[in-house]
Amino acid sequence: MYSLIPHIVNGLTLGLLFALIALGFTLIVGVMEVINLAHGAFFALGAYFALATIGGSWFAGTEFGIWWSSLSPGARYASGLIFGPLCAAGAGMILELCLRPTYGKAPLYGLLLTFGAALVIEELIRLVWGTGEQSLSVPQAINGAFLMGGLIFSKYKFYAAAFSILAIFLVWLFLEKTPYGAIIKAGSHDSEMVRALGFDLGKLRLAVFAFGAALAGLAGVIMAPIWGLRPHIGIDVVIPAFLIIVVGGVGSFWGAVAAAMLVGLAVGITGAYAAAWSMLSMYILLILVVGFRARGLFGRKSALEN
């Protein structure tokens, strides 16, 4: 039993990171009723832009570049952590503008357009950063391992988990305690009402897309040191996000978080017994939940079913 602890910790960490990816996704699905297949691409963009920021290779040789590389790794990492998600948010806004002609048509078109966008972004990443695997370095302070109770834990994973909890908490605060959150939640039930309340639906959609993309980008920056960076990482992460949304119930905040934790735990614990199959537990969980509770754990009836 004792030997299971690292796996449980691992699973919980993974779950928190999954939750971070899934939150942006579920926000966009909930408000826009668009399944954003480019969500993974935003994840990748965030991580790659953070990589570029931390490395500073784009302005190597210039005076700014020299000054930049003289900065401490911590400062550069922190700016990557901000700049990466910002770039993802920018890309998200561009995509939302492209999506506008599809509103009011069959939901299929949004899905198709974001699939095309994911393809384009992935190819752009190949073009700019090459096809090889890259790694994102983190400052010494959060690197390495530590011992606790005779077990070895990775410092970075703890940092990542703590960061995710903070981010999830902030998103929750934002949704629950601010007027913007109230509008977003209203939008996720009823866009008529948003309009009736006198808010600009166009701006709301733009903001939600930017926010969702930024969350994906943030998850990318946090996740990259653990998973590594490759151009098709977007597709790799969008799948767990999908499953989590389906398991948790489309458009539900706590559904996404709970499902993410469940999936993380399932993956972590299976990892202890059959490492190669650890990801499969995610799919089995999905089939179980969908088989018995068609709308997911916390799902309500949604317009997406039509």
Partner: protein, 343 residues
């Protein structure tokens, strides 16, 4: 606005001029492909993907069930074909039968879970199930050979009675695939013009009304999903032969998305011939743009994004619009003579 549901010009006839032109082009392809700067293998590839796309469009375009995980059944067919050759015996018909059967069973099982759904939720579930198959293909190493897949799948001889034809040559395999595609096309054409095809479209247009008109919507959705998985399995069997291997990549979300892209680009939502056009456009773009730049998918993707934004009916839709512009005012059909309309 045009749609698949427009009254077919030749709804009753089993064989139509476009079909003749298409099959003629397909049959003669080995003679002229190289002359126009392409290669003979491309013909096989296009034939197989058209078969796959046409079966898929029964589900996607006609029934309006937007599956994003259909590559799974192509993959299952390919693996089943390979496994049959490796473990049961080298046989063309046996392999193809195994491919169709395996894909049918896989499709029927998944359809049990997804047949009561519609719209984006349906798409989400098909993605999830597609991933399950893809993942299993990678992880069941003892069965599927993991990431590398099954290698060295033979191309068994075609045996019909006393006749034995080797399919080692690309040309002979091309003709064999073309013959299968021709048969499948005749079958699908009949199906979509028979009451079943109209009922599928009724379900696409208004599931609730179809239900209150007495149709067992669940069963029909289950059936069409299974049927289109069977066709994908057949295409998968041929694909395993063409590639002489089976690998997980065809089952990935990426590939399943590409087939959707082809259908949409070609105009599968508005025309029976949409999938054919879409597959042609895709492969020709791949070879022509791909010959110029490494990043051809970038350009293809951009083209696709712009297309979804401005003309989502796709290429076949464009053809309709052009034709409508050149045609004079639409001919009013006398009510008393509906039969003339389809002459």
């Amino acid at each position: 606005m045009i749609s698949l549901s427009d009254i077919p010009a030749r709804g009753g006839s089993p064989f139509t001029p476009p079909m003749f032109v298409f099959l003629l082009a397909l049959a003669t392809a080995p003679f002229w492909l190289e002359a126009v700067g392409l290669y003979s293998y491309l013909g096989i590839e296009i034939t197989i993907w058209i078969l796959y796309a046409m079966g898929f469009n029964l589900l996607f375009g006609y029934a309006g069930l937007h599956s994003f995980g259909h590559g799974a059944y192509l993959g299952v067919g390919a693996y089943a074909f390979g496994l049959f050759q490796n473990h049961v015996g080298v046989s063309l018909w046996g392999g193809l039968l195994a491919a169709v059967l395996a894909a049918t069973i896989a499709g029927a099982a998944v359809a049990l879970f997804v047949a009561h759904r519609r719209g984006i939720y349906f798409a989400l579930l098909t993605i999830a199930f597609g991933q399950v198959f893809w993942f299993c293909a990678i992880k069941l190493r003892w069965l599927t050979g993991g990431e590398d897949g099954l290698l060295g799948i033979p191309r068994p001889d075609l045996v019909i009675g006393p006749l034995r034809v080797s399919l080692q040559e690309n040309t002979s395999l091309h003709w064999f695939s073309a013959a299968i595609l021709g048969l499948a096309m005749l079958g699908l054409w009949r199906l979509v013009n028979a009451p079943f095809g109209r009922v599928l479209q009724a379900i696409r247009q208004n599931e609730m009304r179809a239900r209150f008109a007495g149709y067992d919507v669940w069963r029909i959705k289950w059936l069409v999903f299974t049927l289109s998985a069977s066709v994908a399995g057949l295409a998968g069997g041929l694909f395993a032969m063409a590639q002489e291997s089976a690998y997980p990549d065809v089952m990935s979300l990426h590939q399943s998305g590409l087939i959707v892209m082809m259908i949409l680009v070609g105009g599968g939502l508005v025309s029976f011939w949409g999938p054919v056009l879409g597959v042609l456009v895709y492969f020709i773009a791949r070879d022509i743009i791909g010959g110029i730049t490494e990043t051809w998918l970038l350009w293809f993707g951009l083209m696709f994004v712009v297309m979804v934004m401005v003309r989502p009916e796709g290429a076949a839709g464009l053809a309709h619009v052009v034709r409508a512009r050149f045609a004079r005012a639409p001919v009013k059909t006398p009510v008393s003579a509906p039969a003339e309309r389809s002459a």
